[in-house]
Amino acid sequence: MADFLDGLQYLATVALPALLAAIPTTLALTLISGAIGNLLALPIAVARTSRNPLLWVPAYCYILVMRGTPLLIQLFFIYYGLGSLLPGTWVRHSWLWPYLREAFWYAVFAFSLNTAGYTGEILRVGLNSVPHGEIEAGRAFGMTGWLIFWRVTLPRAIRIQLPAMVNEVILLLKATSLASTITVMDIMGTRTDLFAQSFRTYSPLLGAAIIYFVLVFLFTRVLNWVERYLNKDRLAPVAVVLPAGIP
């Protein structure tokens, strides 16, 4: 019992404040990688749906590799692999170097590429499921190929796949905890630090669990709201109240 209370006191006075201070790092990892990954996913999905083998084969391989290997090994490959090769190249003396000395940017790089693979596949399905009649309608209006893509196909594909894309961001938020394995001081990294300082196993883990749970909950809420806002024309009416006088 005394042990338990002691652990609780440690959690409240030491662990939680330190873990809360790490939230911005986790959020930055998620939002920056999410933004870059989603932007990269677009050309990948377009290439994947192309009929030209020079485009769809590389896109297919990219998606297969990103979805077919563990994120952790991708992270290690980029951090340890590229991290050990880059200092011998031109990068050492370029403007990129200040960024590439920090594990944080390697993590962002790895997470962006990974999310791009997963979201690329989601968008591919979306692009393929746009109703044909809508594209024909665009053509009937005299729109050119690109205009149809920007005004009809793409917005429609994104809306169709919005729930899956939103889900992907939440998975990314959870996956950023892997950055702790390459010394990034996010929530999970801070937990490792607290463990090393105090040799307490459970208090830092429980603190981190509480914070991740709240973050995931809030993310789900906000993203669901965004989803509903963007898809509001597609929602079924909740209830139709007939005006009085209609039989």
């Binding site: 290997t69 563990p70 090994i73 290690f76 590229l82 459970y202 429980l206």
Partner: protein
């Protein structure tokens, strides 16, 4: 180990090269993944059963299980369950007087149970959806024939729900093989990623070995995808393709 070895020396089989370590790691990863998957399937069946039981307390417990586990990062849960599991097992064994204070809990079993418990939560949702997709009339017909629960489950519910569960379970299998790599953070089992990291650290050829390790994981994935397509075809025999 000499850091200036050639590629072929590094990949040779035996004490000069790393092929044997990597292949053992690959084999251990496959074994671990299969065990995690089976444990996860059991937890998933129990979880889905609880969520569909109609008993309020059981439904609540099943709900908390699947929601809480799916909302937290796997890495964090692995630490939490691994430490809590080994601590609990140790205190039970010591408390019952079966083992002394210096008892070591099997790392393989602890890691498998921890990840199996996590995957059980994902499996719960897949199986719950699959059970709900089986037409209710089928169960009622089985009941009308006087089949008891075990028979009803074995002959009617299970074969039909597996058809619906296949897609989700296939994805979960792929995720299991990939998430088994998380075990590297525990540092207690020489599975594929651990073996890869050891090889990379010893030779300093990080990019090379993580590339090779990635290829081996890709091998598991691609093989699994081919087998999955076959199983799906088998389960869908007797149903016309729409």
């Amino acid at each position: 180990m000499n850091p200036n070895q050639s590629v072929w020396q590094m990949l040779s089989y035996g004490d000069q090269g790393w092929s044997d370590e990597l292949l053992h790691g690959l084999w251990l990863t496959i074994q671990i993944s299969v065990c995690i998957y089976l444990v996860g399937f059991c937890f998933g069946l129990v979880g889905a059963g609880m969520k569909l039981s109609g008993n309020r307390l059981l439904m609540r417990i099943g709900d908390i299980y699947s929601t809480l586990i799916r909302a937290l990062p796997e890495l964090l849960l692995l630490f939490l369950l691994y430490y809590a599991g080994t601590d609990m097992a140790r205190s039970v064994l010591v408390g019952l007087g079966i083992a002394g204070e210096d008892v070591q809990i099997n790392a393989f079993a602890a890691a498998v149970l921890a990840l199996g418990f996590i995957y059980g939560a994902y499996m719960t949702e897949v199986l719950r959806g699959a059970i709900l997709a089986v037409p209710k009339g089928q169960i009622e017909a089985a009941r009308a024939y006087g089949m008891h629960f075990g028979l009803r489950f074995r002959r009617v519910l299970f074969p039909q729900m597996m058809r619906y569960a296949m897609g989700g379970m296939g994805n979960l299998w792929l995720n299991t093989t990939k998430d088994s790599a998380l075990i590297v953070v525990l540092g207690s089992l020489p599975e594929l990623l651990s073996a890869t990291r050891n090889a990379a650290a010893a030779t300093k050829h990080y990019a090379f070995f993580f590339f090779i390790g990635g290829l081996l994981y890709l091998l598991i994935t691609v093989t699994s995808m081919i087998i999955q397509a076959r199983i799906e075809k088998h389960l869908n025999r007797g149903y016309r393709r729409v």
